[in-house]
């Protein structure tokens, strides 16, 4: 039983074209006999053909059904499509190359775009409740600037009058050179308001961010620290973990208050106090 089942399918796979021709012959034979019957009944050949078609239905559809009923129908179909495609490409190498190049370029561009999109837009910000974070900008339509920095006085005003935001923190980025021992490297640094870390909902892995002590001391004006290490920025920076590991070799950051040697800027408290 299984042997016969297998044999039927192997035969169908191997001789599918022959079987298809056979079923075409068989259907044609059936139609011929029906036409003859109508002619014997006194119809013209044209009428007989029409009547036969009415009685028997479409032979092409029947042939399709028979083909679909045989084993390997899908394999055969796919193979036929592939052969047709191969032949078409061989006949037109120019457009084949063009098509391959176009598809390659298209796939490449979409991949890059998707990576960017997923990195920038789709992947959520690395903070708890990222959907509650918004960026606020000021705009200057007269100067054609959709997004500009915000004056610290405005930030104070916004804080007082906003009903939609739970809090509003500000930052100001600037590039600075960090000197550690004999090495120096430029980093993007930011001065931030004291509520910056609580609003983002992050805590430092090591040490502290702002402490109440930081705000009891008098405000100092920005000034360039000298090489002796005195009179520098009064606050130690919060350092990204990756920088701490790679550039600072996991050393304490307390000494960095004297290590920031370039870049102007004011300490964080000035923003807080609207200075």
């Amino acid at each position: 039983m299984i042997g016969r089942w297998l044999w039927t399918r192997v035969r169908e796979l191997a001789g599918s074209r022959r079987l298809d021709r056979q079923s075409a012959d068989e259907l044609a034979h059936h139609i011929d006999l029906t036409v003859e019957r109508y002619i014997r009944a006194g119809h013209s050949e044209r009428d007989a053909r029409r009547l036969a078609r009415l009685e028997l239905g479409d032979a092409g559809l029947a042939r399709e059904d028979l083909r679909a009923g045989r084993a390997g129908f899908l394999v055969e179909q796919a193979w036929r499509d592939a052969r047709l495609a191969g032949r078409a490409l061989r006949h037109a190498p120019g457009s084949a190359a063009l098509a391959v190049a176009t598809m390659g370029l298209g796939i490449g561009v979409s991949t890059v775009l998707f990576s960017l999109l997923s990195g920038i837009v789709l992947r959520p910000l690395p903070y708890p409740e990222p959907d509650r974070l918004v960026s606020v900008y000021q705009s200057n339509p007269q100067a054609g600037l959709p997004r500009t920095g915000v004056a610290s006085g405005n930030i104070d005003d916004w804080r007082q009058r906003s009903r939609t935001l739970e809090g509003l923190a500000a930052y100001y980025t600037t590039g600075r050179t960090l000197v550690v021992g004999r090495d120096a490297a430029v980093f993007v640094t930011a001065q931030v308001t004291d509520d910056y870390f609580p609003i983002l909902g992050v805590a430092p892995a090591l040490g502290t961010t702002f402490t109440p002590d930081d705000f009891r001391r008098p405000v100092q004006q920005c000034r360039r620290p000298d090489r002796s290490g005195s009179g520098g920025d009064p606050l130690a920076p919060a350092v990204a973990a990756i920088i701490w590991r790679r550039s600072l070799h996991r050393r304490p950051v307390g000494h960095l208050r004297t290590a920031i040697v370039q870049g102007r800027g004011c300490d964080a408290r000035r923003l807080r106090r609207g200075g």
Binding site: M1, R4, T8, Q22, S23, D25, E26, L27, H29, H30, I31, L33, T34, E55, L56, G57, D58, A59, L61, A62, D65, L66, G69, R70
Partner: protein, 105 residues
């Protein structure tokens, strides 16, 4: 018409003698008093189905008019299938009739 009933009609026809497709169609039409006319799209897929199930066997031969034709004949399994299908069908029809007669009493 359901596939079961088509199959039963074909098997019953072939139980009389081997036939080609046209002959099967003619027989069914005649014996049903012109009630059943079977299209190519119904008949040949049914024959293919029966052949794959091992109920009929097909062979190319030269017909009486000296034309090549594919003749179908019943296998032993087909004969058994015809008997069991007929029984099932008769049971179903008589049950149906009983219901109809009960309802019209």
């Amino acid at each position: 018409m359901s596939a079961d009933r088509i199959d039963l009609l074909i098997l019953t026809t072939l139980a009389l003698e081997p036939q080609h497709g046209f002959g099967i169609g003619q027989r069914i039409e005649q014996m049903s008093g012109g009630e059943f006319r079977i299209t190519l799209g119904t008949l040949y897929p049914a024959l293919q189905r029966l052949e794959r199930a091992g109920h009929v066997k097909a062979e190319w031969t030269t017909s009486d008019h000296n034309r090549r034709a594919r003749y179908y004949r019943l296998t032993a399994a087909g004969r058994r299938k015809a008997a069991s299908s007929r029984e099932a069908f008769e049971r179903s029809v008589s049950a149906m009739m009983r219901v109809l007669q009960e309802a019209s009493k």
